[in-house]
């Protein structure tokens, strides 16, 4: 046994624990945010600076800071902001980004619509084959994309040739694929959110004169808004980040950002600075959007358990 005078008092223990928590939090934040910081810093560097053997943690030297405070214009000389100008001409970054936004946003909308319907069916009703459908939903999450990539491509070509309706390298083609990829997860997630809504609310709505579908749309969906926001964020990210299918199904005019950004690393040259500038420009609005709407999204992500 430790002698009593050496044992920490409970207040000291609390304080130490508090310090520990702060320390761990600080480390985690560093881990989480450093790459993002590094992206921004690198976007202001020349190729030589980036490939230099002794990378600098700070964009400016400490000794320069007093001078910069006096004359902020100096910053423009030190920071290689030209990346932000030249990148537009190097590759059509804006097109890539807009393509991605169109694809990801539309996918999100469709996946949410289909997911809400399916998730609601799963949450509210019992029907024959429910277990099988549930298993299939989960099963889709184990399919290696590479197994269905080629058959799907051939299928698209077949549709194109037979019906004459273009499928490859079109927005609707890739949106259809992404929507389907994300629908199982959307159903799964949304089902959980619907589970937290008492059945009686839907019943009240139906007694109040709604059809089942009206009750869903007018009453249930608004109540599940945070869950829908969280699911939407999830779907959006999946659609924004996919590369395997995008690389053969979404080429040409619909090339998304996730593919396009990689062209900054060409066979002969890597335009790291410009790539990071483009990345910064693309990441900023998404992070901003998330921060603005984080309340319902985070609420949605954590909902359910509270009511468990």
């Amino acid at each position: 046994m430790i002698p009593e005078e050496l044992q920490l008092s409970s207040a000291t223990k609390d304080r130490l624990f508090g310090l520990l928590v702060k320390g761990v939090l600080g480390t985690l934040l560093l881990y989480a945010l450093f790459p993002i910081y590094w992206m921004v810093i690198s976007s202001f560097r020349t190729r030589t600076e980036i490939t230099a053997a002794d990378p600098q943690l700070l964009p400016v030297e400490l000794g320069q800071i007093p001078a910069i405070v006096q004359d902020p214009a100096l910053l423009l000389e030190i920071l290689h902001y030209e990346n932000y100008i030249t990148m537009w001409a190097r590759f059509p970054v804006l097109d890539y980004f807009i393509n991605s936004l169109i694809i990801a946003t539309t996918t999100t909308v469709f996946a949410l619509v289909v997911g809400c319907l399916g998730g609601y069916a799963f949450s509210k009703y019992r029907f024959p084959g429910k277990g099988g459908v549930g298993g299939a939903l989960l099963g889709t999450q184990m399919i290696p994309g590479i197994l269905i990539l080629l058959p799907m491509y051939l299928l698209f070509i077949w549709i194109q040739d037979t019906i004459g309706f273009p499928m490859t390298n079109t927005y609707h083609g890739i949106i259809f694929v992404y929507t389907t990829f994300t629908v199982p997860v959307a159903i799964w997630m949304l089902r959980g959110f619907f589970d937290t809504i008492p059945d009686s609310v839907e019943e009240a709505a139906r007694v109040d004169g709604c059809s089942r579908i009206q009750a869903l749309v007018r009453i249930i969906l608004p109540m599940a808004a945070p869950g829908i926001a969280a699911t939407g964020m999830f779907v959006f990210l999946v659609a924004f980040n996919e590369v395997l299918f995008a690389s053969i199904l979404a080429s040409g005019d619909v090339t998304p950002f996730a593919i396009g950004i990689q062209s900054f690393e060409t066979q002969t040259t890597a335009y790291w600075g410009e790539m990071m500038a483009a990345s910064t420009v693309a990441t900023a609005p998404i992070l901003l959007l998330f921060v603005l709407f984080q309340k319902p999204i985070v609420e949605g992500l954590t909902e359910g358990s509270v009511k468990q």
Partner: protein, 388 residues
Amino acid sequence: MARVIVDDLTKEYNSPGGSILAVDELNLEIDDGEFVVFVGPSGCGKSTTLRCIAGLETVTDGTLHFGDEDVTDQKPKERNIAMVFQNYALYPHMTSRENMAFGLKMSTDLSKDVIDERVEDTAEMMGIKELLADKPKALSGGQQQRVALGRAIVRDPEVFLMDEPLSNLDAKLRAQMRTELQQLQSELDVTTVYVTHDQTEAMTMGDRIVVLNDGKLQQVGTPLECYHRPANRFVAGFLGSPPMNFLEVDVDLESGTLSNSAFSLPIPESAVDDVSGSKLTLGIRPEHVSLVDAVETHAEPDHLIETEVTVTEPMGDITNVYLDVGGESLTVTSDDRLGVRGGDTVHIHVPAAKIHLFDAESGEAIKHSDEPIDSTRIAEASGHAETA
């Protein structure tokens, strides 16, 4: 306003273990403007029946009529009903006003102004006018309850359906709302079906109560009828607190007695002709048994039993005295003049007139107590329940 006619209603659920019969060939007629309370233990089928009437559950077999109209296959929105739920089921993203207006908006062609007016009138009547702009989250339980009621009332429906609407309220509020609801119903004069597991609500609120057990109808009748003329042992035991005492007795027709190891009572005269078989269940309500101090001078000496007190429960105005009668427990509500305690030996009086007798096997009532009941509906509802 409408009569509700339930004809051979059957509801079966499919479940992994096979199908479950939730409601079994239920027949019932509810008069226009009548307040009927469905009561029974949980899982007895009362809520299912209500939900079938609402159209929230599809009916497996049988028909439902509102007045002359067959509504069996109608959707809830076509039935012109309003429903109040146990958890109120207010729409959290709408204000009280929108909550109340929603039904009218969805089910009628009324103009916005008319709807507004009706909402305001109802709110006025319910005393919730100042809450109209609030969302449910900002309201207390009682206030939510009123809004939920208001939402039903404003619809001016043919039938009100209430599914344990008071059970989420605290005891005091519940008592208050009970009265209020009753008044409201009689003012509005809308056919009302009210589901509860609380027998106090059942006894105090309904014009008639419908006792259900295991998906089967046990008895329909006025509260007093069900209380004093229970159709069977289940109804007798379900209504009343503390519940009716039951004692298994052997019938000895020769000596004309009902007896077990601890006592022997004469068969009540009114029942002599109906008694057959060798086993019966004797039922007697706690308030009808009395503790006797002057044994020798008692008017019905052969209806006295000597017992031992196990526990007493003073409630203030009365005391529940638990006794041991031949190994079976028997409860007496007494005014406690005697000040008995556990371990005392006392005599109790079981008045012949108050004895119920039930068939030991089927539980069917053979004899009722002679307590008078409300006269108006005795004629039509007397006799045994239609248990098919």
